[in-house]
């Protein structure tokens, strides 16, 4: 007994000395090159990533594309060579793919199917003179710049767009003419440059440059990485098209079907019903009336009732719009701001609600003090909740936060309404599960409780493979101390709640050859019944061999 005990102790110590247990492989992919193909094409490509040993297959989201593995993958598990076939009738678009390996299923990356002329970097010889064209290139090392020569006729306008298909790569485009200089007759001189139309969180980092050429001749377009970034994952499409390609709306995309607090979400005419369907009582399904505000100083100030939307545009710097809001009784209300065209950081709408005496009672500007309480920090929020203590005519004031910025696209829509308790944003993570037999993985669901919603929300996991079960679990809650000097945070943030479902595989659970798509369904309970799902997410799940460690 003693000897066994000593042995066990030695084993434990040895294990400790050996450091951490071997890290579980986590297959990930970063790029595919070439990054695009045409309908009917068949081409070889390399997918790069990590932990890609024993790749089994490539799966595409949607139909029209197939891939077969070519030869052995790299020893380091960093590359998979594939042959991709694009069916002739495949519509142009962006297609997501994953690699299935013995270590599980990877994340997804994109491959484009393009209808127009497509050429790989290495196949570009001499000057390009036919447009449109898409060149697929890659900046292999830091400091690399890819140069493409163009033959242009005077008066031509071309649009150049460098598209990165991976978040790690931020391309830039510069256009040069070989006009030389007194110092260097071969010098290329920059005539236009774009890193991206606007660098701001949520916006694309693709570069877009539109240029009208006033002289015929040869020009050079250079693609580079921001601040000389480069590497094997820095692949891009350079799209060159005739004419002016419209500047993107500079509108951050929404990350979910329903987004509660983004300036760019649509406040639809059915907003009240939409909210009711997310847990409301069903008594608030009133239509929204639309109003227009007047410029500050106008003789006549319009009056709106709630629920109602006030719409307008701030076309001149310093312009302020006002409208009166008639409230029949004391109540809890909300104002939500939508920026259908220009949005942050160009248009930063400040909305203030003033009581009849002119005092501000609420604003969409959330103010708090910094941690040492020395100065104020201000943030504009798309939704503000507040309680109105008395009936009366209040004033809603709308303007841009600066005194200098304005434009025809500075359009706002402000919805003023009664509060509707409901579930706001729903998040489900992770986006793939590689589950060893005999092991478990958490699946987290978080919901935002909006406007005093106190009801129940259910989470179902459907389509689980044999040997895998889902069980409710408690997670160790994060300690979130309240912010010092945090201001009226409750006006601008929902109550967030998180739950965990544990996915558990029995030791003898059959291993997966291909991922099973499980469905996570989140529903709200209203009047004792489940209503239509608030969120549904399909997640690929693979059961892997039992880990020996």
């Amino acid at each position: 007994v003693l000897s066994y005990g000593v042995l066990a102790a030695v084993t434990v110590v040895a294990a400790g000395l050996c450091g951490e247990a071997a890290k579980e492989p986590d297959p990930k992919i970063s790029t595919i090159f070439p990054v695009a193909g045409r309908p009917g094409d068949s081409f070889e490509a390399v997918i790069r990533g990590t932990d890609l040993e024993k790749a089994r297959s490539v799966i595409f989201e949607g139909s029209g594309l197939r891939a077969s593995l070519l030869g052995a993958e790299s020893e380091a598990g960093t590359e998979v060579k594939v042959k991709i076939a694009v069916a002739p009738d495949t519509p142009a678009g962006r297609y997501q793919l994953r690699v299935v390996t013995a270590n599980g299923v990877t994340n997804q990356i994109a491959l484009d199917v393009l209808a127009g002329p497509l050429v790989e970097q290495s196949a570009v010889h001499g000057a390009v003179s036919e447009f449109p064209v898409t060149i697929m290139g890659r900046l292999n090392r830091p400091g690399d710049t890819d140069d493409y020569w163009l033959e242009i006729r005077d008066g031509v306008t071309l649009s150049f767009e460098a598209v990165s298909l991976t978040p790690a790569f931020d391309p830039a485009i510069a256009l040069y003419e070989p006009s030389g200089s007194w110092f260097d007759s071969h010098r290329l001189n920059r005539i236009a440059f774009n890193d991206e139309p606007l660098s701001f969180p949520g916006l694309s980092r693709n570069a877009l440059l539109v240029h009208k050429f006033s002289r015929s001749g040869k020009y050079c377009v250079k693609v580079s990485g921001f601040n000389g970034d480069g590497g094997p994952d820095h692949a891009y499409e350079l799209n060159i098209t005739s004419g002016v390609k419209p500047t993107p709306s500079l509108h951050p995309g929404l990350s979910a079907v329903f987004e509660e607090r983004q300036f760019t979400r649509l406040l639809r005419p059915t907003r009240m019903r939409d909210l009711a369907s997310r847990g409301g009582s069903g008594k608030t399904e009133q239509p929204l009336e639309t109003f227009r505000a007047a410029k500050e100083g106008s003789a006549e100030i319009p009056v709106m009732t709630i629920p109602g939307v006030v719409e307008g545009r701030i076309t001149l710097p310093g312009e302020v719009h006002v409208i009166r809001v008639r409230l029949e009784k004391a109540q809890d209300i909300v104002f939500e701001v939508e920026t259908p065209e220009a949005t942050l950081p160009r248009f930063n709408p400040v909305v203030r609600l003033l009581e009849p005496g002119g005092r501000e009672i609420a604003t969409d500007v959330y103010t708090k003090l910094n941690n040492n309480g020395l100065y104020m920090m201000k943030m504009i929020r798309a939704k503000t909740t507040l309680s109105i203590g008395a009936a009366g005519e209040y004033t809603l004031q709308i303007r841009d936060i600066t005194t200098a910025c304005a434009g025809q696209d500075f359009r706002y829509r402000v919805l003023v309404r009664q509060q509707v308790p409901h579930v706001g944003n729903v998040e489900i993570a992770p986006e793939r599960v590689n589950l060893p037999a005999g092991g478990s993985k958490p699946l987290n669901v978080s919901i935002d409780r909006e406007e005093g919603f106190r009801g129940y929300v259910t989470v179902d996991v459907e389509g689980l493979p044999a040997g895998v079960t889902a069980r409710p679990a408690f997670e160790n809650p994060e300690d979130k101390p309240p912010l010092p000097n945090g201001g009226r945070l409750e006006r601008y943030t929902p109550r967030e709640q998180r739950t965990t479902v544990m996915l558990i595989a029995t030791p003898d659970a059959p291993q997966s050859d291909i991922p099973t798509r499980i469905r996570v369904v989140v529903r709200v309970v209203r009047d004792g019944s489940l209503v239509a799902p608030l969120a549904v997410k399909e997640i690929p799940l693979m059961v892997l061999p039992r880990t020996t460690s």
Binding site: G143, W182, G228, C405
Partner: protein, 748 residues
């Protein structure tokens, strides 16, 4: 009439200086000024000294009187007096007054002995205390001192001669009084001219300096030049524009002959480096030297101004002044790049400089110039932001006045905070650190302030009075509630005479190595311009020509003054300030590195790694020049650090002083030795191509020095190569010697 008033009047009668009634500020304050007691290094300093505070040069006599008569310990950050107030005079036993015991060292005094017991100063103070220490007459509130005048203001002294300065104080009512006996005198360069405490000047050696005088709370200066023997005959002067008129007039006055016109090679090298930051290639040097075109210099200047290299170089110059750097622009590389693109566009389009200033000062929103309001990750404190704008656009350093009235200048703490108040409502909107929008917080809107008991108001740090945006002349600006007050500040600033003066002075300094006022951002009455009329004419010309920087540069480089040789006569060799000959200037780190790369034919590689062994995650595109790098905190270069590339965390002051590390770098650094030995470099290409010794020497001389070698140089070098045991090594040493020479490392 009260008995007390009778006593005061009687005392004033006793103390009166001749026909003039007694004034504490003048009669006692004057002694304290003359003896240096209220100088910045003594009790006139920020904190006073030993708890005893006096105003600089008796600027605030009433306050000085209180500190002496009532006593007490001064505190910097509040107007409250610390501790018990114990008078520094003793009315019952006047000779035991601290005000007498300290400066006579009868009790220990950190400031040493300032005057002897029984001296005139001692007796004057003693009599004043005996008379009851009255304040005496005070100037009427509406009859303050308007200015200090020194006569003569421009003094020319023959060698070893003497002269006396007169100090006149002008009052608002037109009265002018002599303050010579209540003034403190100081020479900025006692080796040229010394001055005693009576204002007597003594010429020491040929040169020029300023005499600084402090009196009655004011500061003034006079320029004193010591001239040499008459130059006979004085050389004929070739004048191109008013710059030459004004420079030559002064040279003639000071009997300094200008050097001859620069040779073509001198001019070519100088103008290329000054306008484009780049050496001319050998072929261009050959063409220029061979050209017989009498207008070739003007034609070259027109080619260079606006050339792509010009845009690169002046973008680099203004990146320095405007502080383009990741850490100075919100710690977001994208933002410093946005800001940099704005700077580049200004240069490329030759945007009028007043417009540049307006855009930067009044910037709102999310575009390039707004990023300069975000040093590190926060909105800079209003005082610091204002002081930087004033320094950049008005050439004045107001920083000292943040804590106290400026010790050497007529800037008061009130003026400082009045200007700072223009920036009090500048806010950033945003949360996560990469989305900040700059805006002006309206005065009449709460915008959530009440929720955190926030206060938009700003208070004077000492008096606690609420601050209003106030221009230097005291005009209070009252913008409407939603108006950006910085717009009004910008409009005032670009119209103020200081703006154009500061701009032309800064540009002038880039072409001559020093400003007409130097340092370029330290205009003050105690640092007068060497050529005040020239400064005024240049500023006027700049203003009336739409603040056109390119035009200003053209005016400067076409002048005969700019095109003067660096070769000297014995009679002008000592001149450093009058432009009688070109002064050699060390190349800036970036320009020097680019020049080394050009001469060796080996471009520099700039990576993000901070050591040679570390792997760079990013690298500037091959062929990027050092002046094109943009921010100094993205790409690392040991060479640039050693040779003084500023980090731009403050407004850079490049001094170009050599240091030991530079010498080590020359001996063993890769920028020299790696490039010289590079197989793709100019030397190896020449050797492989079988060029003759003379061809190789010519090419390197043309590339590095913009000239052909002298016959003696050619012969000497060929001889060294011929006797060397290893020809390639000998050539490498030759190139190394070229690159390490002063002729190469300086613009001359």
């Amino acid at each position: 009439m009260s008995a007390r008033l009778l006593i005061v009047l009687a005392a004033a009668q006793v103390l009166s200086a001749g026909s003039r009634p007694f004034e504490f500020g003048r009669d006692i304050g004057g002694i304290l000024t003359r003896k240096g007691c209220n100088s910045a290094t003594c009790h006139g300093g920020v904190k006073g000294r030993g708890g005893f505070k006096l105003s600089p040069a008796a600027l605030y006599p009433k306050e000085d009187y209180e500190w002496i008569v009532k006593g007490g310990t001064y505190q910097v950050l509040t107007a409250e007096v610390a501790g018990e107030r114990k008078p520094r005079i003793d009315l019952r036993n006047p000779q035991q007054s601290l005000l007498l015991l300290k400066p006579t060292m009868e009790v220990p005094h950190g400031g040493g002995r300032r005057f002897e017991p029984g001296s005139a100063e001692y007796r004057a103070i003693l009599e004043w205390i005996r008379a009851g220490a009255p304040m005496g007459l005070e100037p009427a509130a509406d009859n303050k001192i308007s200015r200090l005048e020194l006569l003569p203001n421009l003094v020319t002294l023959e060698a070893q001669s003497m002269a006396r300065l007169q100090v006149k104080v002008h009052f608002h009512d037109g009265r002018v009084e002599d303050f010579g006996e209540q003034a403190a005198y100081k020479s900025n360069d006692p080796d040229v001219v010394s001055v005693d405490e009576n204002g007597m000047l003594q010429a020491k050696r040929i040169g020029e300096t300023a005499i600084v005088v402090r009196a009655a709370g004011q500061v003034g200066s006079a320029t004193v030049g010591v001239i040499g023997a008459p130059v006979v005959p004085y050389p004929p002067l070739d004048r191109v524009n008013f710059i030459d008129d004004l420079v030559y007039d002064k040279l003639q006055h000071f009997r300094i002959p200008p050097s001859p016109r620069a040779s073509d090679s001198e001019f070519l090298r100088r103008v290329c480096l000054d306008l484009a930051g780049i050496l001319p290639p050998p072929q261009r040097v050959r063409e220029f030297l061979a050209s017989r075109d009498p207008n070739k210099r003007e034609k070259l200047i027109d080619k260079l101004i606006g050339s792509p290299e010009f845009v690169d170089y002046w973008t680099f110059r203004f990146e320095d002044v405007f502080r383009v750097a990741v850490f100075s622009n919100g710690i977001q590389p994208k933002w410093s790049r946005m800001y940099d693109e704005w700077v580049r566009e200004n240069v490329a389009t030759n945007k009028p400089y007043d417009q540049v200033a307006r855009e930067r000062l009044a910037a709102e929103g999310y575009d390039g110039p707004t990023r300069h309001f975000l040093p590190y990750d926060v909105i800079g404190p209003p005082g610091e932001t204002m002081a930087e704008e004033v320094r950049v656009f008005m050439g004045r350093r107001l920083d000292c006045a943040q804590c106290h009235n400026h010790p050497y200048e007529n800037w008061s703490q009130d003026q400082f905070w009045g200007l700072a108040a223009f920036f009090q409502r500048t806010f950033k909107m945003g949360d996560t650190g990469n989305e900040y929008v700059i805006f002006e917080h309206p005065l009449d809107e709460d915008m959530g302030n009440a929720e955190v008991n926030g206060n938009l108001k700003m208070y004077h740090p000492r008096t606690k009075v609420e601050l209003k945006p106030t221009l230097l002349d005291g005009t209070v600006i009252k913008p409407s509630a939603r108006e950006n007050p910085r717009k009004a500040l910008a409009e005032w600033l670009v119209r103020h005479p200081f703006f154009a003066e500061a701009a032309v002075n800064r540009i002038w300094s880039y072409f001559f190595g020093r400003g007409l006022v130097d340092p370029v951002d330290d205009f003050r009455s105690t640092n007068p311009p060497t050529h005040p009329e020239l400064l005024a004419r240049l500023a006027d010309d700049f203003r009336t020509h739409n603040h056109d920087l390119r035009r200003l540069m053209r005016l400067i480089v076409t002048s005969r003054t700019y095109q003067t040789s660096g070769r000297t006569w014995p009679s002008n060799r000592e001149d450093r300030t009058n432009y009688s000959h070109a002064q050699p200037r060390p190349l800036d780190a970036e320009v020097l590195l680019d020049a080394i790369s050009d001469v060796t034919g080996v471009p520099e590689i700039f990576g993000t790694a901070v050591s040679a062994s570390a792997e760079a995650t990013a690298q500037a595109p091959y062929g990027t020049r050092a002046i094109q790098l943009g921010e100094p905190d993205v790409f690392y270069s040991r060479f640039l650090e050693v040779y003084g590339r500023p980090n731009r965390l403050t407004v850079p002051e490049r001094n170009g002083h050599a240091n030991l590390t530079e010498a080590m770098h020359m001996l063993a650094g890769p920028a020299y030795n790696g490039k010289i030995g590079n197989s793709a470099g100019r030397l190896q290409r020449f050797l492989k191509a079988g060029k003759t010794d003379a061809e190789i020497i010519d090419e390197f001389y043309l590339a590095a020095f913009t000239r052909f070698p002298e016959k003696s140089e050619m012969a000497g070098i060929r001889n060294l190569i011929a006797i060397a045991p290893d020809r390639e090594t000998a050539w490498k040493e030759f190139v190394w010697a070229v690159l390490c020479s002063r002729e190469f490392a300086e613009n001359h």
